[in-house]
Symmetry: C2
Subunit: 181 residues, 2 copies
């Protein structure tokens, strides 16, 4: 007799045209386990269709390699430069396309929600996010900022997009709105 | 003995999150022949990932059905509303993803270039574009504005992204910067 295990493996994506971060974690009950992280870079000397092809193929490869069951993509903000907003939007469209094409359900959270869930406050600096990702997943070294953001996105989803209240319930120690790692 | 024919079949795309227009034409020497056109609509009550999935699947289906050898996507402009720019960017990213995933080479032209190529002036109204598309392809009726823009994009590419100079060379009658149909 085999035990039916509903393995939840979450792929987080921090989209960008130049660099798209990705991070994969697994949920074992209420515990989180790091699987992989990294980033997909596109060459800014290439045409936009070529860069979109690089991102789409890169994310498709990550999905094929790590076989996530769910995906999460950070919501992006409008830039002060409208052209940058347009480029970022196209990169995010390519990321979403690769995920839905692979048949994955896709959740979305704002950077504010992600920081709130991982650091305990929406205005946290990138370094704080990296620090908490290392602590929460018990990593030996810090991932790059883009990979850390993607992992933070996956952690946020693992806790139902909720903040530290849910994490305290999950057994993490929270004091004064901060997670104690 | 079979005759080797290099059939050029161009798929033009006018991307949008709500409506994405498409148009397929064939080049027979310097003559253009209409193949198909239409539009892919996404439901604005659905989530963004679902809408991106609809656009991606729709374009993939158009490619599978009409087997184009080249694709052209109109360049989009930044909107006065930055959120709209972000949504339009994501729709365009999905369109580009579907085309590059299908292995198609993708060209890009601005609306100005397309109008210049088809109507003879960059500031042409939508109705003028529709009118010229009907005339140039010998259509019985006018396609919708989105489909007409997509067909115009394909026509622009058929003439190497050039304006009426190239079209005059191709046998069309041009007078005073206008194409006589």
């Amino acid at each position: 007799m085999t035990l039916a295990v509903n393995l939840v493996r979450i792929l987080g994506i921090d989209p960008g045209l130049r660099v798209t971060g990705f991070g994969v974690i697994e949920m074992h009950g209420k515990q989180l386990r790091y699987v992989a992280s990294g980033c997909i870079k596109s060459n800014d000397k290439h045409s936009l269709p070529e860069r979109i092809a690089t991102l789409f193929a890169g994310i498709s490869e990550v999905v094929a390699t790590y076989q996530p069951t769910q995906a999460v993509v950070e919501k992006v903000f409008v830039n002060v430069n409208p052209q940058s907003t347009l480029l970022l939007g196209q990169a995010r469209g390519a990321a979403l396309s690769a995920l839905v094409h692979a048949g994955l359900p896709v959740a979305e959270y704002t950077a504010l929600q992600v920081k709130q869930a991982v650091v305990g406050q929406g205005k946290a600096a990138k370094e704080q996010v990296q620090h908490m990702v290392v602590k929460l997943l018990g990593l030996a070294g810090a991932p790059t900022a883009d990979a850390a953001d993607a992992l933070a996105c996956a952690i946020c989803h693992a806790h139902g997009g909720q903040g530290l209240g849910a994490m305290a319930t999950a057994g993490y120690r929270v004091r004064g709105g901060r997670l104690l790692a």
